[in-house]
């Protein structure tokens, strides 16, 4: 575990989480959630939980992003609230 590296990733995690909540463009928010997933995957890999990191990279960053984009395609692209 490298503490400065962890802190940098955690700061970026908070930033991406806040941005994905604030962005009105749903496609953009989905992309930022994908970045969030990759960051948390990086954090887990760095802490030694490689199996969990692998699952997060495949499910969180890969497939669920595709699912959300497929859903956004059938709704409106911009959030109303």
């Amino acid at each position: 575990m490298i503490v400065p590296f962890d802190i940098i990733i955690l700061i970026f995690l908070v930033i991406t989480a806040l941005i994905s909540l604030r962005v009105r463009d749903l496609l953009g928010a989905t992309m930022i959630l994908g970045v969030y997933s990759f960051l948390i995957c990086l954090l887990w890999a760095e802490m030694g939980a490689v199996d969990v990191a692998f699952t997060e990279a495949a499910v969180g960053a890969g497939v669920s992003t595709v699912f959300m984009i497929a859903t956004i395609y059938h709704t409106r692209r911009h959030s109303s609230d």
Binding site: D51, T55, G62
Partner: protein
């Protein structure tokens, strides 16, 4: 209402953060979770020292997931199956064809043709590699990170890539609705079948040791290792089928005619 939400969030955050100092330090060998209480060793200590002699599986995570905690993983797979079936039940529509809400943008110009050639050729080259890697992840889950869930997701993603690169009907031609529903159920049946085989041989459910009687040329320890592989294959079947089923139904509003 906005202020109430803010106050509730801040209060919960403070409450959770106040519990953080009570956690053991990262990797602390003397914490109860790692070192056990008094002279009773903890369960993680047991996994670290005895997994290899019990099961001959170097990846402790896989051994815990598929053997020691086999029930958990079985019903995790059932949860994924149920989620897929729920999405299928909500979205799948058997009514006749309707005019698409978005006109299908098939670009017939020369530039569009080039684009199709580039994407099509790339996918044709890369999809076999992805599928081979998925099978490697499933089969090699004992020795390296991976296993049924990850391999199944990668294998399902390769079919989603076919649907993204060409169209949904091309992917459904390779992996039809009948097939993915059958494959999803077969995966769980494989997993439960391993458990029921143990019961048939007069042991507990998912107690793989006894399976050496019906597996040729294995001892009880290797029987556990091989049964884990079989169980992981079952998980991979279900996850592959359900991932593709969810995508196919989401992207075409359950009509399975055209997605994008």
């Amino acid at each position: 209402m906005k202020w109430f939400g803010l106050i509730a969030t801040v209060f919960t955050g403070i409450l959770l953060l106040s519990a953080v100092p009570d956690f053991a330090a990262f990797g602390d060998p003397d914490s109860p979770a790692n070192g056990g209480l008094g002279d009773h060793p903890s369960v993680s200590q047991y996994y670290i020292t005895d997994t290899y002699t019990d099961t001959k599986v170097p990846n402790i995570v896989t051994a815990v997931l598929a053997d020691y905690r086999g029930y958990d993983t079985m019903f995790e797979t059932v949860v994924i199956f149920a989620a897929g079936i729920a999405i299928f039940a909500i979205l799948r529509s058997f009514s006749g064809p309707v005019a698409p809400s978005h006109p299908t943008a098939i670009d017939t110009s020369v530039e569009g043709d080039h684009q199709r050639i580039i994407i099509g050729t790339t996918c044709r080259v890369i999809i076999p590699v992805i599928q081979l890697f998925a099978l490697y992840v499933v089969a090699h889950g004992h020795h390296s990170p991976g296993g049924g869930f990850q391999g199944g997701v990668i294998l399902g993603a390769s079919f989603i890539l076919v649907a993204l690169a060409k169209d949904l009907s091309a992917a459904l031609g390779r992996f039809s609705e009948k097939r993915y529903l059958a494959l999803g159920s077969v995966g769980i049946l494989i997993y439960a079948g391993f458990g029921l085989l143990c019961v048939a041989l007069e042991r507990n459910f998912l107690d793989y040791e006894i399976l050496h009687r019906i597996m040729p040329a294995t001892d009880p320890i290797m029987a556990r290792s091989h049964s884990m592989l079989g169980v992981e294959v079952g998980v991979a079947f279900t996850v592959t089928a359900i991932m593709f089923a969810i995508y196919a139904n989401l992207s075409s509003k359950g009509r399975l005619e055209q997605g994008f």
